[in-house]
């Protein structure tokens, strides 16, 4: 069965055309990148501000619990049948707007929770000491809280990335865009090799993204360089 799936994946004619693997892959990548950027732009400033001021903790922490309990499938379906509709949306394909909104919604909880917790868990003694040294609020945030919280914040963004990729796959259940379409198409045509081929693509894509995110997280951590320097 895996050999059938592999021969499906290596067949170049399967990759071309508007319903080929290539088109779905580009669609899913576009969806993932766009919605992660939007979620970071919306979620990070709010969560960082709340964390810095030490307010709204209940909301910031519980948004993740709520996000876990709500099924992605239901949200996608409500959005695509409800007000947003399932129309073509630029390069994002059918039900593109509904999918983008759902992706942003499910990317926000890990970003918000981790950014808030990351800033709050910066050692309060360090914050007090820097205040004693005459730093103002903005300096404390940019010089102390942000660099110390960055590893936790980046972990949140990484979780969001994986979540977005998974959600983009599920869009296929509402006949939306993305690589999941290869899986649902395989089910519709009773072609198990196509289902498995699609599943392999999605799974490998998720693992590659996770790997890249882990490497980026390491490269971006400012404290890592500091730790490495010989004292």
């Amino acid at each position: 069965m895996f050999l059938d799936a592999l021969s499906y994946l290596t067949d170049t004619s399967r990759w071309s055309g508007s319903n080929g693997i290539g088109a779905f892959f580009v669609q899913q990548m576009l969806l993932t990148v766009t919605s992660l950027l939007v979620a970071v732009l919306i979620g990070l400033p709010v969560a960082l501000y709340l964390g810095h001021r030490g307010r709204g903790g209940f909301l910031a922490v519980n948004v993740s619990n709520v996000g876990r309990a709500v099924p992605v499938f239901a949200v996608l379906l409500v959005l695509s049948i409800g007000p947003v509709g399932a129309k073509e949306f630029g390069p994002y394909g059918r039900a593109g707007l509904a999918t983008l909104i759902a992706l942003v919604l499910f990317a926000l909880p890990p970003i918000i929770t981790n950014a808030y917790v990351g800033v709050r868990e910066v050692d309060r003694d360090i914050v007090e000491a820097s205040r004693g040294m005459g730093m103002n609020g903005r300096e404390i945030f940019s010089e102390i809280e942000w660099p110390l919280a960055l590893p936790v914040i980046m972990t949140g963004v990484r979780l969001a990335l994986v979540q977005v990729w998974a959600t983009a796959t599920i869009a296929a259940l509402v006949a939306g865009p993305g690589l999941g379409r290869i899986i649902t198409r395989g089910f519709a045509n009773h072609r198990t090799s196509e289902v498995v081929a699609g599943a392999i693509l999605v799974a490998v894509g998720a693992l590659v993204l996770e790997g890249i995110a882990v490497l980026a997280e390491r490269a971006l951590d400012p404290m890592r360089r500091a730790r490495r320097q010989p004292s």
Binding site: R68, A69, P71, V78, I81, I170, L173, V196, A199
Partner: protein
């Protein structure tokens, strides 16, 4: 097709002129909230909820049963720990639609396909929490028990597991709530509980059905979470002693 079925039931004895008016307006308008839907489709809703519930419970239990020995092995052999944690991270990264589909060649269109996938997801959460829970047991407590002559098995069951219970239960709650939500994706192999109702509504755009299934799904997650909180309170009465005093 299913949209028209319930309307016949409402052609009551009010005469032919009243027959059209007897079709509930919310079916005609395809409203999100439709009281008649909950009544007319009661058996569908009950069946779907029941399937959702047993798939969730079985998956989480299988995950828990598998997580225990894995966590104990990972704790015993330091080198195994990174392997176990790494492997569970990989599983957790794979999207549900893909994970279910990968088992298709072996388990086919059965509930086993969904249960294996969901059990693997809960396993990844539970292994970490069981490990963290066992780590949270203070060394002094462990050493005191050993000094009192507790063997490894008695130490585990009488001292370590009870003390680790709050952290394990926290993992169980996260695993259960996310399993309820993920089970809807099982509809791809026709075993998605309330997800089956959602998938059917993709074709006929039946809004009342989408709304009812979504609400029941979230309600099920909240109820199971509450149930686990109550179980935890009953299992760990000592954690409340300080508060009551």
């Amino acid at each position: 097709m299913t949209l028209l079925a319930p309307t016949l039931a409402h052609l009551t004895s009010e005469g032919p002129s009243a027959a059209v008016a007897a079709v509930p307006q919310c079916y005609i308008d395809n409203d999100w909230i439709c009281g008649y839907y909950w009544k007319d489709y009661r058996t569908d809703l009950v069946d779907a909820t029941t399937q959702h519930l047993w798939i969730t419970v079985v998956s989480v239990l299988v995950g828990l049963i598998a997580a225990m020995p894995l966590a104990l092995l990972a704790r015993r052999f330091a080198r195994l720990e990174s392997v176990v944690v790494g492997a569970t991270t990989i599983i957790y990264t794979i999207p549900s639609l893909a994970l279910f589909s990968l088992f298709l060649p072996w388990t086919g269109l059965t509930s086993t396909t969904v249960i294996i996938g969901l059990a693997l997801y809960s396993l990844t959460i539970l292994v970490r929490n069981v490990l963290a829970g066992l780590r949270s047991v203070p060394d002094e407590v462990r050493e005191s028990a050993q000094g009192l002559g507790y063997g490894p098995a008695r130490l585990l069951f009488k001292v370590e597991l009870p003390l680790a219970l709050p952290v394990i239960m926290a993992g169980l709650r996260v695993a259960t709530v996310s399993t309820v939500a993920l089970a809807t994706i099982g509809s791809i192999v026709s075993y998605g509980g309330l997800g089956n109702l959602l998938l059917r509504a993709v074709g006929n755009q039946f809004k009342a059905q989408i709304f009812a299934a979504s609400v029941l799904c979230v309600a099920l997650a909240v109820l199971l979470d509450l149930l686990l909180v109550i179980i935890q309170r009953l299992l760990t009465p000592w954690t409340r002693v300080g508060q009551e005093a």
